[in-house]
């Protein structure tokens, strides 16, 4: 299939304006005749559901959590970017666009990225009006801080809980619409599949997680705002329930999957301490504003951090990237940490960490100032590790974090299935091969508040005459049966290994072969190993309990079954991209200094994978060529 991104004509600054000028509209009286299903209630899903409800559409919103306020957007700590230039430090929409495009190593669409920067201005206005308590200066105006990969202060924050506060703002907007009955909310419901009729998305099949009942819901358009799938690595910064099942099942119904191997490995998470561990807690990147990262110069140094004199410390980010220092972008910082750890300079009991040291900042600014900025993070660090980071450096290490990849979408955020949209982290759109810090809250929010309400209306304008979609259509029952059979299959294997056993094995394979560094040999090996693991899973997994009750193991089994398929596609994606870019680092393609070596002649495209119809066949690669009309790709340097 020829991929058409549907990018509007005209100069960069006018594309979104031109799109809105000509987009079709739906008359207010007709909106209540149109049904929209939104799956996922994080920032993207809640903001869209609320906005569509306000406009008068009939909305159904689904989430697997027991309330929308728990969606994983809640956990984002540091902030949200916007090019307000309140600091008068030379920021602008254009500069933010260039920073984001460059941060993504020139593997994103110019038009999308520009729109992201442009809409950032309105987002801050909207959030403030909702009562989001952003940090303020003493004069009462909004404050900013700086994040990785940029040289201006454009990050708005609410202490270390920015994601929570933004999410609560949009959750409240959503609950207001629930009260007005424009939105029907289905908490504790997990989407099992989408339903397509005559090639268009027409509904979903969901499982009520308390009763096990499988329900069918129809609509004129379906939106997936189901987040990222970094939890595929098992150990990650994500919540335990984060999963790739909704987008994967849509992929198997015809939606292309873009750049699945581009996973951001976050540099500042807490290191693994044992086999029992279930997640790696993130420490906000904002800490790198005042924290300095170092390892001992001597390999296998067993001294305590405070016993190592200044001249025997290697501040390797400051050494390698003097222009950005400790604020080098995430992919580069993570890789630099791995390089030092692999060379034997890692610290901590498992030698898998580096130091993040605040002693200089505390000396210069005083402990109260540092506590005001990061107090909750220092407290969290102490709760988890028992260590007071005001007295000795934190130990941090890289962990799987964000999926730059996701469902392929055009400029309208529509997938290759007409009527199926993907928003936020569930799509691939704006971050290229590496996301800049504080751009994820931004992307999720603007997709939901400011972009999809226009583009979905443009699609729905055609749908007024269709009439109500009936769930009596045989396709609904067919999809229900397929999913019921799959559940029965999982429950009836009755093997002797837990679901987590397989998830941990898969995560280890992906960290080793499709993580911070990849090789053709390793990826080929991993594809075979994951396939073997998948076969074993279907022979030997034990899923206890029944379907007609709360059954967390059954939920996990469905998600891990999908992960075992997604993992293979990630490896194919990494294997076929013979270059290094952003988070994707192929050891065969690096400069003499160990930096990523991009190949724009052959790989200046987005890989959009097509489901081949069965697991026995190789996935089919489609390419969306990227054209750079306004900014010429350069070698990304933070030196």
């Amino acid at each position: 299939m020829k991929l058409d991104a549907k990018i509007p004509q005209g100069p960069l600054e006018e594309k979104w304006f031109n799109y809105k000028k000509t987009a079709r509209l739906v008359n207010p009286a007709n909106r209540k005749k149109l049904d929209v299903i939104v799956v996922g209630t994080g920032l993207a899903g809640s903001s869209l559901a609320a906005s569509l409800g306000e406009m008068g559409y009939n909305v159904k919103a689904f989430c697997f959590q027991d309330t929308p306020r728990r969606a994983h957007s809640v956990a984002a700590q540091g902030g949200v970017n916007a090019a307000k230039n309140y600091k008068n430090d030379g920021d602008s929409v254009y500069r933010m666009f260039v920073d984001t495009l460059k941060g993504g190593d020139f593997r994103a669409r110019e038009a999308n990225v520009y729109r992201l920067a442009e809409c950032s201005l309105n987002l801050i206005d909207q959030a403030v009006a909702q009562g989001v308590p952003f940090g303020r200066e003493y004069g009462g105006y909004l404050n900013n801080r700086s994040f990785g990969g940029v040289q201006v202060s454009r990050t708005f924050y609410a202490r270390g809980q920015t994601g929570q506060q933004l999410l609560l703002g949009t959750y409240q907007a959503l609950m207001r619409q629930v009260d007005k009955k424009t939105v029907q909310l289905f908490s504790s419901h997990e989407m099992l599949d989408i339903v397509t009729i005559d090639g268009k998305a027409r509904g979903v099949v969901v499982r009520n997680l308390e009763t096990g009942e499988i329900e069918k819901h129809s609509a004129h358009a379906v939106v997936l705002a189901t987040g990222g799938f970094g939890k595929i690595y098992y150990l990650s910064t994500l919540a335990m329930g984060c999963n790739g099942s909704a987008i994967w099942r849509a992929h198997k119904k015809g939606a292309y999957f873009a750049s699945p191997s581009w996973t951001q490995i976050h540099p500042t998470s807490l290191p693994q301490s044992g086999d029992y561990q279930s997640k790696l807690t993130l420490m906000s990147e904002s800490l790198r504003n005042d924290g300095r990262i170092w390892v001992p110069k001597k390999a296998d140094d067993t001294r305590e951090a405070n016993d190592i004199p200044e001249e025997e410390r290697d501040y390797y980010l400051e050494r390698r990237y003097p222009a950005f220092g400790n604020l080098a972008p995430r992919d580069i910082s993570s890789r630099a940490a791995k390089e030092r750890i692999d060379a034997g300079h890692g610290v901590g009991p498992l030698k898998n960490a580096v130091y993040l040291d605040f002693s200089k900042a505390i000396k210069e600014q005083g402990q109260p100032k540092i506590a005001e900025k990061y107090g909750n993070l220092f407290r969290m660090y102490e709760k988890i590790t028992g260590i007071n980071a005001y007295k000795e450096p934190m130990k941090i290490s890289p962990a799987a974090h964000f999926s730059m990849g996701g469902l392929w979408v055009d400029y309208e955020l529509m997938t290759t299935i007409p009527g199926l949209f993907a928003l936020g982290e569930a799509n691939f759109a704006d971050h290229g091969a590496n996301r800049l810090g504080a751009n994820s809250l931004l992307q999720a929010s603007v997709d939901g508040y400011f972009i999809a309400p226009y583009t979905i209306a443009n699609y729905l304008a055609d749908q007024i005459r269709v009439g109500k979609i009936s769930t009596d259509h045989p396709e609904f029952d067919k999809v229900i049966k397929e999913n019921q059979d799959k559940i029965d299959q999982l429950l009836n294997i009755k093997g002797d290994k837990s679901v987590d056993y397989y998830h941990k094995k898969l995560g280890k394979l992906l960290y080793d072969y499709c993580g911070l560094a990849r090789t053709a040999e390793g990826l080929t090996f991993a594809i075979e190993e994951i396939k073997k693991l998948r076969d074993e899973f279907y022979k030997n997994v034990y899923v206890p309990g029944e379907n007609d009750t709360m059954n967390a193991e059954l939920e996990k089994a469905g998600r891990v079954a999908d992960y075992l398929e997604i993992g293979v596609l990630m490896c194919y994606d990494a294997l076929t991209r013979n270059e290094s870019c952003g988070a994707h680092f192929r050891e065969e393609f690096q400069t003499e200094e160990g930096e990523a070596e991009r190949n724009d002649n052959e790989f200046q495209y987005i890989s959009a994978w097509e489901w081949p119809g069965s697991l026995d066949k190789e996935p089919i690669l489609n390419k969306e060529e990227l054209k750079f009309e306004f900014v010429q790709p350069t070698i990304r340097s933070y030196k």
Binding site: M175, R176, M240, D500, P544
Partner: protein, 250 residues
């Protein structure tokens, strides 16, 4: 470490529950409390027994999904800490640990340690918002908010909606939860227009749910993972009286 666990097991909303004893060996003191439960479940699964259902998601103290009563304390022995942030180093080798769901009339048990907290959603949807549609907002710096006001609003807004305040209250009162949202929006200039109606509607909804009254024992503040102050409750009472008075005057 070795632990003796007494865990509440209940098949569904209607079934009668009971405490069941388990023994868990090889508990690592660095494990989180939920990782200890993971380990127990792994053991149960291998022995073909049904694992314990418990709520959890982010495991970093912010989503508000986890929460059990441990030895009689909501979220366990530490003050201002969620269950997921509690580590086994707080327990002793050979200790018996009693684990129950959050118990309150307003939080019916769904299964084992999972409870239904949807009443909180209904309290928010009764008025815990600012009525601003997408696109209506003025430029963000149009209305300054003093540093102190923003910080105070944040202190109230930090609530994670876990329900420990209700679980720990002898009356099963949701006063701390409700008052935190009322206070946040009562002090910010952006949310003044609906201040009176908001307080009246949210409190009416709180009363309509199965929550008890606040009798100022201040137990909620001790267990609140975000340390939300009971002064929010005083503020809520003030807002209620103010709104009632102004309504009466009109």
């Amino acid at each position: 470490m070795k632990l003796h666990l007494k865990i509440w097991r209940q098949k569904n909303r209607k079934a009668q529950g009971q405490l069941v004893n388990y023994t868990l060996e090889n508990v690592n003191p660095h494990m989180s409390f939920l990782e200890m439960l993971d380990t127990l479940n792994e053991q149960l699964i291998v022995n073909k027994e049904e694992p314990v259902e418990f709520d959890h998601d982010c495991r970093e103290g912010i989503c508000g999904q986890c929460g059990v009563v441990i030895n009689g304390n909501a979220h366990g022995p530490l003050e201002n800490t969620t269950t997921c942030q509690l580590h086994m180093r707080e327990f002793k080798d050979g200790e018996t640990v009693l684990i129950e769901p959050f118990r309150a009339k307003g939080f019916p048990v769904k299964k084992d340690l999972k409870v239904d907290r949807s009443a909180f959603d209904r309290i928010i949807s009764a008025g815990g918002y600012v009525s601003v549609n997408t696109g209506q907002a003025p430029e963000a710096n149009t209305i300054p908010v003093s540093h102190e006001t923003a910080e105070a609003a944040f202190d109230s807004a930090a609530c994670i909606g876990c329900g420990a305040c209700v679980a720990t209250c002898k009356n099963g009162s949701a006063a701390l939860f409700t008052s935190a949202k009322i206070t946040q929006l009562a002090i910010l200039p952006q949310s003044q227009e609906e201040r009176k109606e908001r307080a009246l509607k949210m409190i009416a909804q709180m009363d309509a749910e199965d929550f008890g009254h606040c009798s100022n024992t201040e137990a909620c503040e001790v267990e609140c993972p975000q340390g939300i102050s009971v002064l929010n409750i005083a503020r809520m009472n003030y807002e209620y009286n103010r709104a009632s008075f102004l309504k009466f005057k009109k």
